[in-house]
């Protein structure tokens, strides 16, 4: 019974991992390639090197550039 339970849990784990990986590395790239605005955004991110997953200002190099630009202009 315990072995059966373990097997079932492992199956669920592998299935869940496969689903998540398929979503992120299958569905999302397909979505990006299918819609023009998403494709444009992807190209734009590759060119600029901006990482949208970074959440604080010190993690994003472009914030320093912005600060320097505004300090000079204002």
């Amino acid at each position: 019974m315990a072995v059966e339970n373990k097997k079932s849990r492992l199956r669920r784990f592998l299935f869940a991992c496969a689903a998540v990986i398929a979503f992120v590395y299958g569905f999302l790239p397909w979505l990006t390639q299918s819609l023009s605005p998403l494709r444009q955004m992807q190209q734009h991110l590759q060119e600029t090197g901006i990482d949208p997953s970074r959440y604080y200002y010190t993690d994003v190099e472009q914030v320093s550039e912005a600060e320097a630009y505004l300090r000079e202009r204002l």
Binding site: T58, V63, A66
Partner: protein
């Protein structure tokens, strides 16, 4: 994870032993230890003298150029570039040491191994692949340089008295600067080096197990059991960094923090988190230590970066939206959990993940509430990052207004920069700066929420709260967070701006405290995932009220930010807008 460790429990009293036995204080001491080490390392063993010499020489050149010409000449910019190149993190032994030993898996496209191992052949292939673009950018820079030199020489020949020649020189210099920036960006892509992060990751894991293990021991728990379990939590964090480094995942804002929760929850809810791992799921300890370190990045001088318009857009609109959304959640939606309500409100109105973490810790929200809030923020940020620039372009808003709108409403800074840059350079600069000003609000938000919870929410009906009781209940790590923020704001204000940028910002913070903070938050998210039950999470989602709260609050935020940005940048301070 035991239920008790998912929130901070009030004991209703304080004693001296709290200083070395309670999590809040231990987080402060650990944070202080790392900050102190970085400050000493950069300020006393760093290249301060060399930096001072370079800054003095550059300042002298700039002063001479300012006296010579009515505009910023090429020599002036050359001196500015010399100062900008000064970075404690890359120009000192301590910076190189910390940078090497805190490395995390980076970007990859098709092979996950690329994120932590790169051979010389791979590095060379990457450099060669990017070389043509660099050569092209370099040629453009050289052409622009010649044009700028000729135009400036012509203006100088007329003793800078001919306005037409001066304007032409300024325009040529600007073109040269733009070309130089593009060439610099392209050059960086040709400087890939081989690496293997496996040994440093093992070393870092051992170091973290040691420093947190000491804290665990002082809290009266078994340090050895913690260390054993910690290796697994660290491993999940590394996997989360690897997954978060994939280019498509990053594009949608799914970074290491989200992956930590996803991978952890997959394990916890299928094969189940091994029992020996649970003692290491010290979510609050990791978060609080990370928050104390985050204090070094909360600099109050940043508030004035774009003048009064920025203060109004970021520091007037944000608290209004935060408080209104919270009241709406309580009175209209009747969200049962006040902590969930405030975490979502802060996450949506202030700055996403970082605000959610700080608020959740300040009001002792449950880990499921933080998970839910961050999950919603990720989804809406991904949508807004793409939709908002399209809307702005479609209705023809000017770049500065569009940038201010994006900066005040999109949650995470990376997404703000991406959306702003999609509109244009000015929009990027305004958006990123507004978001930076909003980021600084985390300190005030955490303190305000902690005080409100102590004085109002946790108070017994009809009872007055004495000063001692406030002290007993107040989450002490918030004081450590604020103390670090005040200290670094003071240092930032007192130091020469160039030295502050080189040693404090690009040294102590970006080359020290931030590296540890990033890891601690990644560890906390992995620990959250490993100890979260899907069913408990679903319970908080009941009726879809959190989504309604987020959507209503964000809609209000969108309207108010746009109106305020228009009034401030176009009606009250059009001169500032014109200069941008």
């Amino acid at each position: 994870m035991a239920e008790e460790s998912s929130v901070v429990i009030d004991r209703g009293g304080s004693s001296w032993s709290d200083l070395w036995s309670k999590e809040d204080y231990l987080a402060i001491w650990l944070g202080f230890f790392l900050i102190f080490t970085c400050v000493i390392g950069y300020f006393y063993f760093g290249p301060k003298e060399k930096f001072t010499q370079t800054i003095n020489t550059a300042n002298k050149i700039q002063a001479e150029e300012e006296a010579r010409a009515p505009f910023k000449t090429m020599a002036w910019y050359g001196a500015q570039d010399e100062k900008s190149r000064l970075r404690g993190s890359s120009g000192s032994e301590i910076g190189k040491f910390l940078g090497t030993w805190t490395k995390k898996p980076g970007s990859w496209n098709s092979n996950p191994v690329d994120s932590f191992v790169r051979s010389s052949a791979q590095a060379n292939a990457l450099n060669e692949q990017n070389m043509p673009k660099y050569m092209e950018a370099k040629a453009a820079e050289e052409t622009a340089l010649k044009g700028a030199e000729a135009a400036e020489a012509a203006a100088a020949a007329a003793m800078f008295q001919n306005q037409q020649l001066n304007d032409a020189a300024q325009a040529q210099i600007k073109s040269w600067r733009d070309a130089k920036k593009k060439a610099g960006d392209a050059k960086r892509k040709t400087e890939n080096k081989p690496f293997n992060y496996i040994p440093t990751l093992i070393g870092l894991c051992a170091f973290f197990a040691l420093i947190f293990g000491i804290g665990i021991k002082l809290m009266g728990q078994n340090a050895m059991r913690f260390a054993v379990g910690f290796s697994f939590v660290f491993f999940v964090s590394v996997i989360a960094y690897i997954f978060g480094g994939q280019t498509v995942a990053k594009q949608y804002g799914i970074g290491a923090e989200a992956w930590g929760i996803i991978i952890g929850m997959l394990i916890a809810n299928t094969i189940r988190t091994p029992k020996w791992v649970l003692p290491a799921c010290q979510v609050e300890f990791f978060i609080k230590t990370g928050l104390v370190l985050l204090g070094a990045e909360v600099l109050f001088s940043k508030i004035v970066a774009i003048g009064i318009p920025g203060i109004f857009v970021a520091w007037v609109v944000t608290p209004i939206v935060l408080i209104t959304t919270f009241i709406f959640g309580q009175k209209v939606l009747k969200i049962p959990s006040k902590t969930l309500n405030i975490v979502i409100s802060a996450d949506m109105s202030v700055c996403g993940t970082s605000a959610a973490i700080a608020t959740a810790a300040a009001c002792r929200a449950k880990k499921e509430e933080l998970t839910l809030s961050i999950g919603m923020s990720l989804v809406f940020t991904a949508i807004m990052m793409i939709v908002l620039p399209m809307v702005i372009k479609a209705i023809g808003l000017p770049e500065v207004l569009g940038g201010a709108w994006i900066g005040g409403t999109v949650d995470s800074t990376g997404a703000v920069a991406a959306a702003g840059a999609f509109l244009g350079e000015k929009a990027l600069y305004v958006a990123a700066t507004i978001k930076m000003i909003q980021n600084v609000m985390i300190g005030v938000t955490a303190f305000g929420v902690a005080m409100y919870w102590v004085l109002k929410v946790d108070r017994e009906e009809g009872k007055k709260v004495s000063a001692m009781e406030i002290w007993h209940r107040f989450p002490k790590f918030v004081l450590g967070f604020l103390a670090v923020s005040i200290l670094f704001s003071y240092l930032d204000a007192e130091m020469d701006p160039n030295m502050g940028a080189a040693l404090l910002d690009q040294g102590v913070v970006r080359g020290g405290t931030r590296l540890f903070r990033d890891w601690f938050f990644a560890l906390s998210f992995a620990a959250i995932g490993l100890s979260t039950n899907f069913r408990e999470l679903a319970h908080y989602f009941k009726g879809g009220k959190p989504v309604i709260l987020y959507v209503c609050g964000q809609s209000f935020n969108l309207v108010l930010t746009l109106v305020m940005a228009y009034i401030m940048f176009y009606l009250v301070f059009p001169d500032i807008t014109a200069r941008i």
